[in-house]
């Protein structure tokens, strides 16, 4: 009973500290609400639409105008500029106004009907990859359709019926199946990992701050006294209020994404949420490890920021880990977000059996070990306060 009473005392003390400094609530609830709102609003359309492209129309005939009209009618590109001068279009691209340029050569129509095979050219702005890729797919389709349309006209003149013509124009077709995200929706792809990543970062930074601030303000004796000089009680009592807060944030984040917005979960949402819970615990453990190794708030915060930000790159949700250099493939395993991401892939996209997620859950649990290893060092730092303040 005394055990729980002591923990209750530490929790109460911690709640008071949380209320005095607005930072704790701003940096957790405020940041998560802002980021959730931000990332969901910027990607509400899912895939890029109406990307501006330029057309350099040197032909000026009915057929080149028809090409423009048909391009304008598609959802993924829009024509922002029609000109006869390539340099003008290139300058617009260098100002970032268009993602692609389609050049229709002089005498295109005449050469087309004379079967002289006039060439279309298109140019892409690869400095902005997402826009350029969208424009690329559309321009590629348009160029192939132009040939197809001409072929159809010729075959019609030869007297072939339409149903046979189509099969001649496209004798091979690919049916692409994009597993679990058939719309190619960027929100589903990015936000499902970015938001847990931001929560992880928040947990890491705030936990370091909450412990480090005791050292910095020399209030650690008071903290230990409240906990009857028991390190375990002190640490558990301190972390309880924050952990509850983080778990509420994490679970509500999952519910918003997977229940409210119906992001696909083909496997078990329960296991995915368990992954989220473990992510929070793993991040707290890493925070204790970092502040334990460097019991100076300043150093711990800087190292924590470096480590936390690298998680986004090393988790491999944008740039696959298999493509990184071997040392970074190994380092990626030291980022809890990497394991959460793999659990997410298993549960939400692949509907894999539980056994596939198990190694990653165990890996997240393994982050507790270093936190336990540094406990002695951290306890000494709390007692002797023998590290610089600043």
């Amino acid at each position: 009973m005394a055990f729980f009473r002591t923990i209750g005392r530490v929790v109460k003390r911690e709640l008071r500290r949380m209320m005095i400094r607005p930072l704790y609530l701003f940096a957790s609830v405020g940041v998560m609400v802002l980021c959730t709102f931000f990332f969901l609003t910027i990607m509400q359309k899912g895939a890029p639409e109406r990307m501006p492209v330029a057309v350099v129309d040197k032909d000026h005939t009915a057929i080149s105008r028809r090409l423009c009209h048909e391009m304008e009618a598609t959802s993924s590109v829009t024509i922002a500029l029609v000109t006869t001068d390539y340099t003008e279009a290139r300058r617009a691209m260098q100002r970032g106004e268009v993602y692609g340029i389609l050049e229709i050569p002089d005498g295109f129509y005449a050469d087309l009907v004379a079967m002289k095979r006039p060439e279309l050219h298109f140019y892409l702005n690869n400095a902005y990859t997402v826009g350029a890729n969208t424009a690329y797919k559309q321009l590629l389709t348009m160029c192939n359709l132009t040939s197809g349309a001409f072929q159809r006209e010729v075959l019609r003149k030869k007297g072939l019926p339409d149903y046979l013509i189509m099969k001649r124009i496209q004798p091979v077709a690919i049916e692409a199946h994009m597993i679990a995200n058939p719309w190619g929706n960027y929100a589903i792809y990015l936000v499902s990992t970015i938001l847990p990543g931001i929560l992880g970062l928040v947990v890491l930074m705030l936990t370091i701050f909450a412990i480090g601030f005791e050292l910095k303000t020399r209030s650690s004796h008071d903290w230990l006294r409240t906990a009857d000089h028991n390190y375990t009680i002190a640490m558990i009592g301190k972390l309880i209020p924050y952990t509850v807060l983080y778990l509420v944030l994490g679970i509500s984040c999952s519910l918003i994404l997977f229940r409210f917005l119906h992001f696909p979960v083909n496997g078990s949402l329960g296991r995915l949420m368990l992954g989220m819970v473990l992510l929070v615990f793993a991040m707290e453990s890493m925070a204790i490890t970092i502040i334990g190794l460097l019991p100076t708030l300043r150093d711990a915060i800087s190292i924590g920021a470096l480590y936390g930000m690298l998680g986004f790159s090393l988790s491999g949700f944008t740039y696959p880990v298999m493509n990184m250099l071997p040392p970074f493939q190994a380092l990626a395993n030291l980022e809890p977000l990497r394991h959460y991401y793999l659990i997410y892939v298993n549960e939400a996209l692949m509907a894999a059996p539980a056994i596939n997620s198990l190694p990653h859950m165990l890996a997240l649990c393994a982050f507790f070990v270093p936190a336990l290893l540094v406990s002695r060092r951290l306890y000494h730092a709390l007692v002797y306060q023998n590290y610089p303040l600043k």
Partner: protein, 418 residues
């Protein structure tokens, strides 16, 4: 004569800002935390990110094959596809369920399936032959590598089939070619011919590193000054509200000096060392960097006036790094951002700075060609300079009114929280 006297007075005041400048430099270099953020982080991060994204393009994505047709046609398709650098056909499976298991275990990231009637459909001369392609969507780069390369191979083999069919119809080969592809096309990827991920992302990240290290460093310096109640940003022994201009100029100059040197390394040297796109004129890059730097310095100084603790800035604002990256419209097209976010992004120096840098460095524009960003950065620099002066003046007035230790009292460090 009078005007000379005024000018002389002004000169004397400005001379004091050189003192502030030297004092600020001393503060920076005697504070290991700030040195780590300013110098170590801005030198280490660019190198680190280049090593993470070393291979640039996605290569050899493993793909499983389920070839139910088992025909020369399907095999020749697979040979051609396997020759693409993007994919490697690692597993030949007997059934879809076998391939699915491989995909689920993340051994492969795509499946290609040829149905039983693939060869018949091609041979009949009347049918469309179907190929099914299954892409792992856990990273869009897998999908891009698999889908685009497969599509290219499909177009190639499709044309071969079409030519054969027209020849079978008795059409001359040359005419058949012009029928099949009456309007051929050439595609040119400008500015970054390989279309790699690093070449696109890292230039934007370089600017972000400069921006964020400066931002957090200045927040840390502001918070420290406040904790120590060091005549916060103000000249000791002066009437506080008086010396605002000198403080803002002197402190700004100190950061400017450090970051102009770091800028040469990060923006000029790193792209050349790591073979990132660098087709722009270096002088134009630096001319764009100057207003970006000034705008960022005063933007950060303005934010730092409300930071109460040394560390609270970085704890609170660490997630802004991602928001800046996305709101600027680099990793997600600006045209897709809702209008209010775009208008908000205009107030961030990073938005203009990164586009200006990309236009000049990656896309070879001249400074005149990207004047919109250049002018906007100067306007922001002027605006944030004035706002910083105003805010410092206000803080000076407040601490005059509320007692000398008002600023540090609010930091909560001197009187520890119980």
């Amino acid at each position: 004569m009078r005007i000379y006297r005024h000018l002389y007075q002004l000169w004397l005041k400005l001379k004091e800002s050189t003192w502030v400048f030297a004092y600020e430099l001393k503060r920076i270099f005697t504070d290991p935390g700030v040195v780590v953020i300013f110098i170590v982080a801005s030198l280490a991060y660019p190198v680190l990110y280049n090593f993470i994204y070393w291979k640039d393009n996605i290569e050899n994505v493993p793909v499983a094959v389920v070839d139910r047709s088992n025909s020369p046609e399907s095999r020749s398709f697979l040979h051609r596809w396997d020759a693409c650098p993007d994919v490697t056909l690692t597993d030949y499976c007997c059934s879809m369920s076998e391939a699915e298991t491989l995909l689920r275990d993340q051994k492969v990231h795509g499946i290609i399936y040829f149905p039983d009637d693939f060869a018949q459909a091609l041979g009949s001369g009347m049918e469309t032959a179907h190929i099914s392609l299954y892409c792992d969507m856990s990273s869009f780069l897998y999908m891009k590598a698999i889908y685009l390369s497969c599509n290219q191979v499909m177009l190639e083999s499709m044309r071969g089939v079409q030519i054969d069919r027209y020849e079978a119809m008795g059409i001359d080969q040359e005419i058949a070619w012009s029928l099949v592809q009456d309007a051929p096309y050439t595609e040119t990827a400008l500015f970054c011919p390989t279309g790699g991920y690093a070449a696109f992302l890292i230039p934007a990240v370089l600017m972000l590193i400069l921006h964020q290290t400066l931002f957090f460093g200045i927040c840390m310096l502001g918070g420290t000054a406040r904790e120590e109640n060091r005549e916060l940003f103000l000249l000791p022994g002066r009437r506080r509200a008086d010396s605002v201009l000198r403080i803002a100029l002197g402190r700004g100059a100190a950061y400017f000096l450090i970051y102009i040197i770091l800028g040469v390394f990060v923006l000029l040297l790193v792209p050349r060392l790591f073979h990132l796109p660098h087709i722009g004129n270096w002088y134009d890059v630096m001319r764009m960097y100057v207003p970006f730097l000034l705008a960022t310095i005063y933007f950060s100084m303005l934010v730092s006036t409300v930071i109460r603790n040394r560390e609270s800035g970085i704890v609170l604002l660490i997630s802004t790094s991602l928001i800046f990256l996305f709101i600027a419209g680099v990793s997600w097209p600006q045209q897709m951002l809702p209008r209010p976010w775009v208008y908000l992004s205009y107030f961030f120096p990073y938005t203009w700075g990164v586009h200006g840098f990309l236009h000049i460095n990656s896309m070879g524009a001249t400074l005149a060609g990207t004047s919109r960003e250049y002018i906007a950065l100067w306007l922001l620099a002027a605006g944030y300079f004035l706002a910083t002066c105003l805010m410092l003046w206000l803080l000076g007035r407040l601490s005059e009114k509320k007692g000398a230790d008002w600023l540090s009292r609010k930091s909560g460090v001197i009187t520890s929280v119980r």
